[in-house]
């Protein structure tokens, strides 16, 4: 899926300044609230500090990671929010055989479950490990952060960005890059000199500023080339059957979903009639 018509200076982006994050996790619960995601059953903590749940999942679209360690006799208690990076040129979209993923002009990479055939190439392709499968369901779909597409479309900020008291700034990607550069310039001692997401994976709609070197916080080093240019190379080596099955299934799925849509619409019409 090429997104070449999109102007990446005007797509909306998150600037996440982890030096300002207090790890309160208001974002994490605000996401659950807006998206009405169920709570996960957890036990104790799932990593350093107070981190929970153990991983992103179909019920958890964003999560604050905790880093609790000592460096040169100094405490480090750092927090950063994990979420879909909303890549400019998303690998999930490029590998999806049925076009279930789409990069929108507003910024969010959105998903259409009615197209999805459950092949999970998106999960394999995403360098950030973001798309999650509804393992707990009999008929699963892929789930991930929607970038609060409906909110953004209606002039609101995403739920997490609205909730965050300190660390998240939301605006056009150009503005956010400019703001990030300004912070690096104004307080050089405060920051590690990189804007993660500026070029990673060919540029993303989530930009991070940190105090600590990125590897200390567990940020994955990701190539700066847009990923779709790799994914096709990679997928060449995936056994043909997958692609073939995927291709065939996309057509089958379209028909199947079409039938289902018709059935649903008919049912809704019937209900409406009854109510009248």
């Amino acid at each position: 899926m090429s997104s070449s018509t999109i102007d990446y200076t005007t797509t909306r982006a998150f600037l996440i300044d982890t030096t300002k994050c207090t790890g309160c996790r208001g974002c994490q619960v605000a996401c659950k609230q807006w998206n009405q995601l169920e709570a996960e059953k957890t036990s104790f903590f799932s990593g350093e500090g107070y981190q929970n749940p153990p991983a992103m999942s179909e019920h958890t679209f964003t999560r604050v990671k905790f880093k609790d360690y000592e460096k040169n006799g100094q405490h480090e208690f750092a927090f950063y929010k994990e979420m879909c990076m909303h890549c400019n040129d998303p690998a999930c979209a490029s590998v999806c055989p049925v076009g279930a993923f789409r990069k929108t002009a507003e910024g969010p990479v959105v998903y259409d479950g009615t197209r999805c055939i459950g092949c999970r190439f998106c999960m394999m392709a995403c360098p950030f490990g973001v798309p999650k499968y509804e393992w707990s369901k009999a008929f699963p779909l892929v789930k991930k952060c929607t970038g609060c597409y409906s909110r953004v479309k209606n002039g609101l900020h995403p739920a997490c960005a609205t909730a965050c008291p300190t660390a998240i700034t939301y605006g056009t990607r150009a503005e956010m890059l400019e703001e990030a550069e300004k912070r690096l310039r104004n307080r050089p001692k405060r920051y590690f000199k990189t804007i993660y997401g500026k070029e990673e994976a060919g540029g993303t709609s989530v930009l991070y500023l940190t105090q600590q070197p990125l590897d200390e916080l567990g940020f994955k080093p990701v190539t700066k080339r847009p990923l779709p240019s790799y994914t096709w190379q990679a997928l060449r080596f995936v056994p043909g059957v997958f692609l073939t099955v995927g291709g065939t299934l996309s057509a089958v799925s379209w028909f199947q979903h079409r039938k289902e849509r018709i059935r649903r619409e008919e049912k809704e019409q019937k209900v409406e009639k009854e109510m009248k």
Partner: protein, 189 residues
């Protein structure tokens, strides 16, 4: 369910097969439609800490369907911590008490009662205890003089930091009218 989870998760092909079998998948489409559009909204203040953040509550058919930070509120400007963000689950929670419950002395269970029954019985208990333990006068240990104290020593009233001001005021007024000296709340802890 015909297929075990393990079988089911074996691959895209099988997943697609399930779709072929005609079982409906749950629709999940990231649509541009705002789920709170056109809903009644009310402002409130967060019930947890004392920062006093503004929250908007969206309701549909008498149910809370969304709660989020009030962007116009000068203190929080839309921000909320996880407790404030979880306000939704106070309004929608199966563990909320919905009935008056009564536990008789020595009983091992609660039983459901009506408000009228419980309030009458509580009023009766309050009066009995007040009448029994009311101290009109008291001799002071130090100066051995008798003083009018008009105090009910047999009961205590606790609480208030989670109540509204108007409720606190009436609680204060009622308690003192009842002669309660032992009136305390969380501020002492």
């Amino acid at each position: 369910m015909g297929i075990s989870r393990r079988q089911f998760l074996q691959g895209g092909a099988l997943a697609a097969g399930a779709v072929l079998a005609g079982k409906p998948g749950e629709a999940s489409v990231d649509t541009p439609d705002l789920r709170t559009r056109g809903l009644k909204s009310t402002t409130t203040i967060c019930p947890f800490c004392s920062v006093g953040c503004g929250i908007i509550v969206h309701t549909r058919d008498g149910k809370v369907v969304n709660t989020e930070g009030d962007p116009q509120h000068p203190i929080n400007q839309g921000s909320l911590c996880p407790k404030g963000s979880a306000l939704f689950q106070i309004a929608n929670n199966e563990r909320r008490l919905q009935k008056v419950m009564y536990r008789a002395p020595g009983s091992d269970r609660f039983e459901e009662k009506s408000w009228d029954w419980a309030l009458d019985r509580i009023a009766q208990r309050m009066k009995e205890t007040r009448d029994r333990s009311f101290k009109a006068k008291e001799t002071n240990k130090k100066d051995k003089k008798e003083y009018v104290v008009n105090r009910t020593d047999g009961m205590a009233f606790f609480g208030g930091a989670g109540l509204d001001n108007e409720e606190c005021y009436l609680w204060s007024k009622f308690a003192r009218a009842m002669g309660i000296g032992q009136l305390e709340h969380q501020a002492r802890l």
